[in-house]
């Protein structure tokens, strides 16, 4: 089943230049998708379209079969519940003046989800591997990796089908990074991830499919292991050839 479909989407911030050209992609349930590109490739713009924060200049984004209508409040509420995001910098994505409990429970309030808040928060804290006494503390009391766990807990509390993750481990140290990747792998069992990253090894460990963006164009799309084993486009080849490797 396709969760999100992007059909012939182009996007321009200004009249003079086009940021995305004729983008087509399908996000299927249970099949994580990696969006790979370097700075200026348009990957964050594409993410903003997928999040419903910008409207395509032409073409359409479809969510569970129907076109996304940013003006339709009822539809957008369902969309927000089903699609959550985690961002790169855990130092700026958590409100420093709120306790962790309020940060994590926020989507329950803003999306009008009923039920026992304590129970829900305890559950997601456990899912992301934080102890339950974290709730009364503030973000500054946590390390970068722990903060990213808090951001993930907030994203999964509304039980979304889709998590859009924008460079979620780039700001973290290597040993923290590997633990967060493990967590995302576990969560992949119950939700589908769109992973925006410049890091092919990360995408390769988490995503079954990927697209490669270069200057607003999809230059290659398909199964991750097939593209890695046999990169067709010269840009993909250059990207792969540029990754520093461990000595063998």
């Amino acid at each position: 089943m396709s969760l999100i479909e992007v059909r012939n989407v182009s996007f321009s911030y200004t009249r003079q230049s086009r940021t995305l050209h004729d983008i087509n992609l399908t996000l299927r349930k249970g099949c994580n998708l990696g969006i790979v590109g370097e700075s200026g490739s348009g990957k964050t713009t594409l993410l903003r379209l997928l999040l419903g924060l910008n409207k395509p200049t032409s073409g359409e984004v479809r969510f569970e079969g129907s076109p996304l209508d940013l003006g339709n409040r009822q539809m957008m509420r369902g969309f927000r519940r089903g699609v959550q995001a985690v961002f790169q910098d855990p130092y700026s994505s958590l409100d420093p003046r709120q306790r962790v409990f309020d940060i994590i429970a926020e989507p329950l309030r803003s999306l009008g989800i009923d039920g026992d808040k304590n129970e829900a928060v305890t559950q997601v804290l456990k899912a992301v591997g934080l102890s339950s006494d974290a709730t009364e503390r503030y973000p500054h009391e946590f390390s970068g990796g722990q903060r990213q766990r808090i951001a993930i807990a907030r994203a999964i509390i509304s039980r979304p089908d889709i998590i859009l993750a924008d460079e979620v481990v780039s700001a973290l140290d290597l040993s923290t990074r590997i633990r967060i990747v493990e967590l995302l792998k576990e969560l992949s069992a119950t939700m589908t991830f769109v992973l925006v990253s410049h890091d092919l090894s990360l995408v390769s460990s988490l995503c079954e499919e990927m697209i490669i963006l270069e200057r607003g164009h999809i230059v290659e799309a398909g199964k991750t292991h097939e593209i890695l084993a046999n990169p067709g486009h010269s840009y993909t080849q250059k990207l792969l050839g540029s990754i520093p490797r461990m000595p063998r």
């Binding site: 390769s204 460990s205 792969l240 050839g241 540029s242 520093p244 490797r245 461990m246 000595p247």
Partner: protein, 269 residues
Amino acid sequence: MTTLLDIRELNIEANGKKLVSDLSFTIAAGERLGLIGESGSGKSLTALAAIGLLPEGLQASGSVILDNRQVIGARDRDLVPLRGTAAAVIFQEPLTALDPLMKIGQQVGNAVKRRAKRDGGPTDKASIQREVLALLDQVALPDPYRISAAWPHEISGGQRQRAAIAMALACKPKLLIADEPTTALDVTTQAEILALLGKLVRERDMALLFISHDLPVVAGAVERVVVMQHGRVVETGAVSTVFDQPEHAYTQSLVAAARAFDDALEIAR
């Protein structure tokens, strides 16, 4: 081989809190050494201490001998002649390392002029300009003439880092200190800058102190590594040995994590 940088029992503290403890290592002339560690391990502080650039409020003790001169406790004005000639630094973020209000040509030109004055070389405008263009060309910047007349914000991140490297080279240092020089760059740009640094260091027989958290990047850039954790050296040795048979538990965990990410790309090899 002569020892260029000799750090012995270096301690750095702030308000009684130890940030670097009993750190010792040496770099011989022409040698390439990597300093590996995660954030807060003290690797950047060590680099700053090596050329006496520690921020105010931090106290260093122990011994740092750079090009036969003691850096610790020295007056700043005695250190000025060391900077640039003995060692030059390239920082992580070229946008903040360059002066936004000065054209690239002038920034590189200042370094060239300073060096020329010290060596008694020509300091007239035409000679300086010629040297600047030659340097920009050596760091493989396209159209050096245009870049020299550009402001830092007008060129790309990779080009800015090349300009910063040109400034460091203008001083003809014996030791080049590169503190996470490619962390802020795209992966394809990173590959180009690493290749450039490797070439320049070899051609000029400079020593290199390469600081990074990225194991594969370090592996390609240096021969020997020092691994730091919480301000202490936990392991040191040849890249091949340390990455192949890490002894300390911390190094083992770092190498295992780096290998796990690397293995994810194995299919592409």
